[in-house]
């Protein structure tokens, strides 16, 4: 579980065109990404632990999550 004050790590972003609102990233990056009322991700912290980010990127069904 990533600590919320950690500012080191890789930077994540969402390709908004590819994102179709599966909501997986809110579970793979809890505390970093939450979903809005329509089910689309809100990136609350851009810097993420590299290992967590790698898994989250792999598990995004729409391939919308990427590292900047």
């Amino acid at each position: 579980m990533p600590s919320t004050d950690r500012e080191v790590g890789v930077r994540i972003a969402v390709d908004r065109v590819l994102c179709t609102g599966h909501g997986v990233c809110a579970r793979t990056l809890p505390g970093r990404i939450r979903l809005d009322e329509w089910g689309y991700p809100i990136v609350e912290a851009v810097a993420v632990d590299p290992v967590d980010a790698d898994l989250a990127v792999k598990l995004c069904p729409a391939r919308a999550l990427y590292l900047r």
Partner: protein
């Protein structure tokens, strides 16, 4: 190991592979066709889809190796990649080979997904809809004649997959509907 043992292992791993493929394909359809307000179940489905795909390769490899090593019938190593080259039951073995080829393409492209155009990945991923019936028919024709249990398992896999396809064709969700609605407007 005797030929008989190898034959049993091959049949068993083939059956497990088929059950796994069916599960993976059904999970894939669930991912594509469904949206839930929270990502909890989607995460589990996506994780299973991905890791079962990897795990299934072990069973598939064992299935192929034992089928050829068996030696009782002549399949030949070439037939593991080149369809319809087996001397023994050319067509039914060939369907299995086709399924393997497609599966490898789907798995490899999924691991390279971030390095290739999304639409290429998607086109290849769609081939799974051909891979699965090939594997199903291959299994049904070759491994189940003398075993009612295996025959019923295969039929069950077929029924589950067919039900999922029927569901996938009818289901929709807000994201897809809104995109389709807007696309109907003038954009070019």
């Amino acid at each position: 190991m005797t030929g008989q043992t190898l034959w049993f292992i091959s049949r068993a791993t083939g059956t497990v592979s088929l059950i796994l493929f069916t599960t993976i394909v059904v999970l894939g359809m669930v991912i594509a066709g469904r949206r839930a307000p929270h990502g909890d179940s989607a995460t589990i489905v996506m994780g299973l889809h991905r890791w079962l795909s990897l795990g299934s390769l072990a069973f598939l490899a064992l299935h192929i190796v034992t089928a050829i090593a068996d030696g009782y019938v002549s399949v030949g190593w070439l037939s593991t990649i080149l369809p319809f080259t087996s001397v023994y039951r050319t067509f039914w073995v060939g369907l299995g080979t086709l399924a393997v080829d497609i599966l490898l393409a789907v798995v490899v492209t999924s691991y390279l997904r971030h390095r290739m155009p999304e639409r290429s990945w998607k086109a290849i991923h769609w081939l799974s809809y051909a891979m699965w019936p090939f594997a199903l028919i291959h299994g049904f024709a070759m491994g189940t004649a003398s075993e009612p249990l295996l025959r019923w398992l295969t039929v069950l896999c077929g029924a589950a997959g067919a039900a999922a396809v029927a569901w996938r064709l009818r289901t929709t969700h807000a994201d897809r509907e809104r995109r389709a609605l807007v696309n109907f407007q003038e954009w070019s």
